[in-house]
């Protein structure tokens, strides 16, 4: 996947938020959060914004394009 993310770090910095808690805030399953976190699934723009919103940070602080 060409997109990297900082979800794991952001979860840690936000009171050790669990994947389940993040999933509930975003409106997806925990398995989808795991897939996103491990770069196995690129979320839709809406889900990406929801994740950023859950952490209270701009989108670019959560996701970034992985340049070669």
């Amino acid at each position: 996947m060409p997109i990297e993310n900082e979800i794991r770090r952001l979860r840690f910095e936000n009171g050790e938020m669990t994947q389940q808690a993040l999933a509930e805030r975003v409106g997806v399953t925990r398995q989808t959060i795991i897939a996103i976190e491990h770069n196995k699934y690129s979320p839709s723009l809406e889900a990406a914004f929801r994740i950023a919103n859950a952490f209270g940070v701009p989108l670019e602080q959560v996701f970034r394009w992985k340049s070669d």
């Binding site: 669990t18 399953t29 925990r30 398995q31 989808t32 491990h38 839709s44 889900a47």
Partner: protein, 152 residues
Amino acid sequence: MSNQANKLEGSSMSFREKSAWIAFLAYGGVFGAYFVVLWQAWDPAYGQGLSIGLLVSAMFAFVIIVTALTIVAALINPKAANAPADERERLIDLKSERAASYTLSTGVLLTMAGLLLGFNGFLIANVLLAGLVAAELVKAGWQIVSFRGVLQ
């Protein structure tokens, strides 16, 4: 970063993945057994009475197994069972449906070939059933490997 935030790192199955496993095992087990018995009993002397009874039994067993296992899965986590599919699950569902449609199309083509070759109605019906079962196995199998992260 290895405290509570990572306690749930292991990816247990979602309700839809469990459903895919239930479908895969039920279709594979019940109709696999059906076709094995059918193959072993393949003799024109048996006639269609046995096969229709066997098919009804297989369908009955399939419905019972799927219903019972789905109820158990739903009881284990009712919240997940009632939740709508999320975007990744919908995408996996669409891709698995596409793969299943190719399989079913192949089954239909084989059925047409059987008609042209003069197969009897009983054989044609079972070729079509095999195509349908194969399509459902492909669908469930595709979902399982997708949920496991093997397919993107």
